[in-house]
């Protein structure tokens, strides 16, 4: 992913060439969808949130200065979109998680299970639902294609080293939950 060219495209969008946003959308639609999907495991909702991110990019395009990476700026917006959604739907959040857990035990889980063919992965999916949002977020960001620790640090407003520690702690928490669930199975 060429960041310079991302910035060049976004600067054109800023100058009124809105069609160039289509190119950025094509480059990042899957990555953004993956970011939201890993957080909520709801494909429909993730698609809506991706849509909101691009509409916000369009609305606040004047604020893009081009001095940082477009990807980092976009993920700042994506995080805000995600937070706004979860804040608005806080009451329903527990239901969603429950639904998600149910879903994991049902069709989707079985369908993916056929592809994944592994009990460990099977369990891992169930464990993820128990992880808090911050840990989930840093793990998801570290998983995304082309995302470096430095980029994540820029997105989360912390140093590269601090990101490594966050990922380390998130993985430890994941492992604890994993072991706990494994013992029960």
């Amino acid at each position: 992913m060429d960041s310079i060219s991302d910035n060049a495209l976004m600067l054109k969008v800023k100058d009124g060439d809105l069609d160039k946003l289509g190119l950025l959308f094509e480059r990042y639609r899957k990555i953004l969808f993956g970011f939201f999907y890993n957080m909520n495991h709801d494909p429909g909702l993730s698609e809506d949130l991706v849509q909101n991110v691009f509409m916000r990019i369009l609305k606040y395009r004047g604020g893009f200065k081009g001095d940082g990476e477009f990807k980092v700026w976009m993920f700042h917006i994506a995080r805000n979109v995600g937070h706004d959604h979860y804040r608005k739907n806080k009451d329903r959040e527990t239901d969603e998680i429950d639904n998600w857990k149910d879903k994991l035990g049902d069709d989707q889980m079985n369908r993916e299970g056929e592809i994944e063919k592994g009990e460990d992965l099977h369990l891992l999916r169930r464990v993820l639902g128990r992880l808090d949002k911050e840990k989930m977020e840093v793990l998801t960001l570290s998983k995304l294609e082309g995302m470096k620790y430095k980029n994540i640090g820029d997105i989360l407003d912390c140093s590269e080293g601090a990101v490594k520690v966050k990922v380390f702690r998130a993985l430890q928490a994941l492992k604890r939950e994993y072991m706990h669930l494994k013992e029960r199975v």
Binding site: G16, L18, D19, L21, G22, F25, R29, K30, F33, G34, Y37, N38, P43, S46, E47, V50, Q51, F54, M55, L58, E112, I115, E116, G118, D120, L121, L124, R125, L128, L139, S142, K143, S159, G161, A162, K164, V165, V167, F168, L171, Q172, L174, K175, Y178
Partner: protein
């Protein structure tokens, strides 16, 4: 403790809380990488390998529909602007209409400002004060010894919007008593605009008999004709009867009397 020992202790799950903090620091500084912690590395690999479905075509369709809608929304005001500027260029009368409208608005605003409000009252008070000052100055200058000062005083009356009785009285007195002929002639001229006032007219008629200067006598005779003042005939005849009246003046006065009668 060296990092290898630290990692080994971590693997065996025997880290003290101080050692845990140390491991945190080592990870932060990059001395220990996450890949070296096998269990977590494996977990991370599993997590990273978790498949994510493809977003549907609906997402792309909705995005491009929204983008198109935004483009149209932003272009509309521009198009309206272009339509107006085209009209502006192709219809010169619009420019004229605009100019005329601006003038009308300007005049209206001027009239409105002039006719009403506190400001106009203040302005009126101010100009009344200025007139009063000029009047005082004029009366003071009339008492000066220098004829040029007295001439200035007489000329000042032309700047007064409406002379008070005090001013006209002072002017009549100057006309009758001032020793300088030029000052008296200027005074006569200054009094002419106020000749419609009965008191001024009366004063002018009386002044005919009091004048010694032929120039002033002739000027007065002409003014009486201009004013069609028949009551002045008696006084003009008095001038004729005077022995020292020059023949030119006499002739002029006789003509004036003829016109007036």
């Amino acid at each position: 403790m060296d990092t290898k020992d630290l990692i080994n202790k971590y693997r065996s799950g025997q880290l003290s809380s101080d050692e845990e903090k140390m491991l945190d620091r080592c990870i932060e500084t990059g001395e220990v990488s996450l890949e070296e912690l096998d269990d977590l590395a494996a977990l991370k690999n599993n997590f990273d390998a978790m498949p994510v479905p493809e977003p549907s075509q609906n997402m792309s369709d909705a995005f491009y529909a929204n983008l198109e809608a935004t483009k149209q929304k932003e272009q509309r005001p521009k198009a309206e602007g272009n339509w107006f500027s085209q009209l502006w260029v192709t219809q010169p009368f619009l420019r004229w209409a605009y100019s005329v409208a601006l003038i009308i608005v300007g005049l209206g605003a001027g009239y409105w400002l002039k006719s009403g409000g506190e400001d106009s009252d203040k302005l009126e008070n101010l100009s009344a004060e200025v007139s009063e000052m000029k009047e005082v100055m004029m009366l003071t200058l009339l008492d000066k010894e220098s004829p040029s000062d007295r001439l200035k005083a007489v000329n000042l009356t032309s700047e007064l919007p409406d002379a008070s009785a005090k001013v006209t009285e002072a002017l009549l007195q100057t006309l009758n008593q001032d020793e300088n002929v030029n000052v008296r002639l200027a005074t006569l001229e200054a009094l002419y605009p106020y000749a419609s006032h009965p008191q001024v007219r009366e004063g002018l008629i009386k002044s005919i008999a009091l004048q010694e200067s032929p120039l002033v006598q002739m000027a007065l005779a002409e003014m009486m004709v201009a004013l069609q003042e028949k009551r002045s005939v008696q006084n003009l005849e008095k001038v004729l009867k005077k022995e020292n009246t020059p023949p030119e003046v006499r002739e002029r006065i006789e003509k004036s009397i003829e016109v007036l009668i």
